[in-house]
Symmetry: C2
Subunit: 338 residues, 2 copies
């Protein structure tokens, strides 16, 4: 089969690889119907993270189940499924508490930018759709696998709810879908931070009520100005740079909530700054699996259209071009069709 | 009147100062019945923080109201009152949300280690007891002013509740009263971290069910061992050193809650470490005022006895000895009687 392999910074190739097979009785093999490039795939692509000498890339996927191991009971061959980027057993105490991305026996899913994918712990990881989706729903279902689930988690972590003012730091796909999530979760006002007209338009389409174009301290000052000097009730941080994280914390009012999903490498939080901010801080790798049933339902009912974040669709063979476009911010999010 | 003044690191003196007067119509003047030395008073005493050339010390107090300004309506001369270390108007949106320590017009209360004290925003800051307290209740009421209120906030920030396992980092007065708070809030297990026998005994008296004597990574390993490998549901951080903060975060399970009230100077949180910890982090200067009515009720009904943290009681004149004893960890907490 064809698969996307990263050899080192900037060096991504589509190559022939052996088709995956059932290795554990809890595995499923899916035929990938669509995959995409994640912002986090750009870390090793840019040399910020090291995934090893020849890394099978991709962790966002939808696909039809080809085969399952003997211990798989819920998921069946022929199911159209959406899965999380983290495999989880769905049975441990951590999964039960809604943190499937930190499952006690959890495993990373890797190699989704390919024709076939082995998904460990299939029953705890995959969710089947009610039937075969219309083609128009596939991009949206694909977003549920990570980018929508992550934006949704950020909004949940920021305790977004009715009557609240939400600020969103980051106009990438996660930030934009954080805007969408904030709207669905009942936010009264959603302040999107972006200086890119196309992304501003998408933020507005997803429910942003205000746009802030400033950055850093100026952005904080603007959010305070818009909120009677107090700051937002909830802030979504979906970038992961030092400036963005500080901007998120400072734009939040005392007692408010910052949900961070972009917090990345090289960030150092000043203890005293955090102390006097008085905010709630929560985030990390999103437990996408917690939200999948609800997200699939909303997409199936056409209540949300998160697939709009894909502004580039390419055949799998052109994965290198997809990486390049996202790296250079020529595309918000690239979809790959095997 | 006599008052405690800090001139520089290690140089604290009790001197004659003018008696405070009503400056604003919202002020009250109280005759201080008891005050004490806070762990945070040791920051400038140790030269870690700079309070200026001649700082009036003390922010924990109980006392009888002598006079009130024209705009004070709730608090009356003759009331026995407990107040927070932060003055708050009780009327702004931040106060209404329970974060009175970050009141939009809030002011620090300073100079409580003295015979008389001016308390700004008296109606929003002071809470009157149901009557004149028995002498035996005075130390406990004094703790409500900061150290108990702070321990209680830490437990609330750590989302302590029935069925949960709570770990407490720090065996100072705040940590010990965090143990007491965790017990009152229904924790199933309370793991106190201390290697000091006297403090271990007090922790046990306050409700600790287990004691961990290790520190750093060893302490984290021990907490994991005690919690099926997962970590505590809730962790209270009441020290404020780099090691203690990391210990608290790592001892908490993914999705769990860390309440920090000791987070101090020089602490730097690693962004990626925090990201993968997946905990909730909340803390800062405790909104003591939120808890005062409930804490006074519990003390009045003799349901709790937080005054046990005072293991040294001295006349105000001996404030320098009180600072020295706490600095050298010869006393957990020193009470001063004007």
């Amino acid at each position: 089969m064809r698969a996307t392999i990263l050899y080192g910074p900037g060096d991504v190739r589509v190559e022939d690889r052996p088709r995956p097979v059932i290795e554990q009785p809890t595995d499923a093999i899916i035929r990938v119907e669509a995959a995409c490039v994640c912002g986090s795939d750009l870390w090793p692509y840019r040399g910020v993270a090291d995934y090893g000498p020849a890394a099978a890339m991709g962790h966002e996927y939808v696909g039809v189940v080809e085969a399952v191991g003997d211990a798989v009971q819920q998921i069946k061959p022929g199911d159209f499924t959406v899965g999380s980027f983290m495999a989880s057993d769905g049975a441990c105490e951590i999964c039960a508490s809604g943190y499937q991305s930190r499952c006690a026996v959890g495993l990373r899913v890797r190699g989704a930018q390919a024709e076939y994918l082995r998904v460990p712990l299939a029953d705890g990881t995959l969710v089947a759709t009610p039937g075969m989706p219309d083609a128009v729903l596939v991009p949206s279902l694909l977003t549920a696998s990570d980018v929508l689930g992550t934006g949704w988690f950020a909004a949940a972590a920021a305790e977004v709810g009715p009557g609240k003012t939400v600020a969103v730091v980051g106009d990438g796909a996660v930030g934009l879908l954080g805007v969408l999530a904030a709207g669905r979760l009942g936010a009264e006002r959603i302040i999107a931070m972006s200086r890119n007209p196309a992304r501003q338009a998408l933020a507005t389409a997803f429910g942003a009520t205000e746009i802030v174009t400033e950055r850093g301290d100026d952005a904080v000052a603007r959010v305070k100005e818009l909120t009677g000097g107090l700051g937002a009730h909830s802030v979504i941080e979906a970038v992961g740079t030092q400036e963005a994280v500080e901007q998120a914390i400072h734009a939040c009012r005392p007692g408010g909530h910052v949900g961070f999903v972009g917090l990345g490498h090289e960030v150092k939080l000043n203890g005293l700054d955090l102390f006097y901010a008085g905010v709630h801080l929560h985030g990390g790798p999103a437990p996408v699996r917690r939200f999948l049933p609800e997200l699939i339902r909303l997409i199936w009912e056409r209540a949300i259209n998160p697939g709009l974040v894909f502004d580039l669709t390419l055949p799998l063979e052109q994965a290198p071009a997809a990486y390049k476009a996202m790296d250079q911010r020529q595309a918000v999010k690239a979809l790959l069709l095997p």
